[in-house]
C-alpha cells in the first residue's frame, strides 16, 4: 500500500430549513393584545394559582388545562440578566447577532414566573438584579413578541 499522504478533505455547507410554528390560541391571545392594545396578558392555573407569561394551555406542574387569562402590568422586576459580548451566528438569520446586547428574565407585576426579553441597556455597570423595568413597545407592531422592543430600566424602587 502506498505511503503517500493524501490531503485531508473536509466539505462545508449549510443546512437551511424553513419551518412554520403555530402559536396556538393561547400564545396568539398575547400577541393580539400586544399588537392592538399594547397590553400583556398571562394565564392562571386553576389548581396552583400560578400565573404564567407567555400564556399556554397546560400548567406544567399540575398538568391541568388553564383558561383564566390575567392582565399583567407592563412593569416588573429584572430577576436575572447577562450582557452577551461574543459574536455568534443566529440560526434564524444565518448572520451574526449584533453584540453586545443585554437580555434577562423579567417578572412582571401580576405574574409568578418570568420570561426572557431584551434589555435596552447593555452597559454592565448600569444593570443590577432587582431593578425595576418597563416594557417599551414598537411603533409598528405586527403580532410578534418583538412588538415589545425591549425593557428599559426605570428609576422606580423595587418594593421587595
Amino acid at each position: 500500500m502506498s505511503k503517500q499522504k493524501y490531503p485531508l478533505l473536509t466539505i462545508s455547507s449549510e443546512i437551511e430549513q424553513p419551518y412554520n410554528y403555530s402559536l396556538g390560541r393561547y400564545g396568539g391571545r398575547l400577541l393580539k393584545e400586544l399588537k392592538h392594545n399594547k397590553k400583556i396578558v398571562g394565564i392562571k392555573c386553576p389548581k396552583c394559582g400560578h400565573v404564567y407569561v407567555p400564556p399556554r394551555q397546560v400548567c406544567g406542574k399540575c398538568f391541568v388545562k388553564m383558561d383564566e387569562f390575567a392582565e399583567i402590568s407592563n412593569k416588573g422586576n429584572l430577576e436575572s440578566f447577562t450582557v452577551v459580548y461574543f459574536s455568534f451566528l443566529d440560526p434564524e438569520t444565518g448572520q451574526k447577532r449584533p453584540v453586545p446586547y443585554g437580555y434577562g428574565r423579567i417578572k412582571l407585576d401580576g405574574a409568578d414566573s418570568g420570561f426572557l426579553h431584551f434589555l435596552e441597556e447593555s452597559d454592565l455597570k448600569k444593570l443590577k438584579i432587582g431593578m425595576r423595568v418597563e416594557a417599551v413597545f414598537d411603533e409598528n407592531r405586527t403580532g410578534n413578541f418583538k412588538d415589545i422592543k425591549y425593557f428599559k430600566i426605570t428609576k422606580e424602587r423595587n418594593p421587595s
Binding site: 500500500m1 478533505l9 473536509t10 437551511e16 424553513p18 390560541r25 391571545r29
Partner: protein, 148 residues
C-alpha cells in the same frame, strides 16, 4: 376565548462541515487526479468495499489493503425521478441507481445518464463519464453511462 390563530414563519440556517477522513480523502484524490476508483478489502472476510472503509463493519478489524475497482460495473437497480426539488442535482426526469463496480462487492449510488431514461435496464453494463474539470467529489463523475 378569541379565535386567534397565528403562524410564525421561521428558518433554521446553520453551517456545518464534514471531514471525510483519511480513507475518504484518498478515494476522492484518486477520482480527481487519476480518474480511478479505489476500494478497500477486509483482510478477514475479503469483502471489497466502495466507498472505501477503514474498518470492516462485520469483522470489526482494521482494513489496510486498497484495490482498484471498475471503472466498469453492473447497474443493480435504479429509479427515474420525475418531480422537481431544489435539492436535486439536475432537473427531472433523471435516473439514479446503484452500481456494483467490477471487483467490488458493495454498491455505489450515482446518476445514470448518456441515455434516454426509458432505455435504462437493471443488469446493464455501465462505465463512468468523468468530467474534464474535477474538484474531488463524487460528481467528478457526471454519471454512469451504458457501455456500448
Amino acid at each position: 376565548m378569541v379565535n386567534e390563530e397565528i403562524v410564525y414563519h421561521g428558518r433554521i440556517k446553520v453551517p456545518y462541515s464534514w471531514s471525510v477522513g483519511e480513507y475518504g480523502s484518498r478515494f476522492f484524490y484518486e477520482l480527481k487526479e487519476n480518474k480511478k476508483i479505489w476500494a478497500t478489502k477486509c483482510p478477514k472476510c475479503k469483502k471489497v468495499f466502495t466507498p472505501p472503509r477503514k474498518t470492516c463493519p462485520d469483522c470489526f478489524v482494521p482494513i489496510g489493503e486498497w484495490v482498484e475497482v471498475g471503472p466498469n460495473g453492473t447497474l443493480i437497480t435504479f429509479t427515474i425521478v420525475r418531480y422537481s426539488a431544489q435539492i436535486h442535482p439536475i432537473p427531472p426526469p433523471f435516473a439514479i441507481g446503484i452500481i456494483q463496480l467490477d471487483r467490488a462487492e458493495t454498491g455505489l449510488v450515482h446518476l445514470i445518464g448518456g441515455v434516454e431514461v426509458e432505455g435504462i435496464r437493471s443488469g446493464m453494463r455501465v462505465k463512468p463519464a468523468f468530467k474534464e474539470d474535477r474538484g474531488g467529489s463524487l460528481l467528478d463523475i457526471s454519471y454512469f453511462e451504458p457501455v456500448e
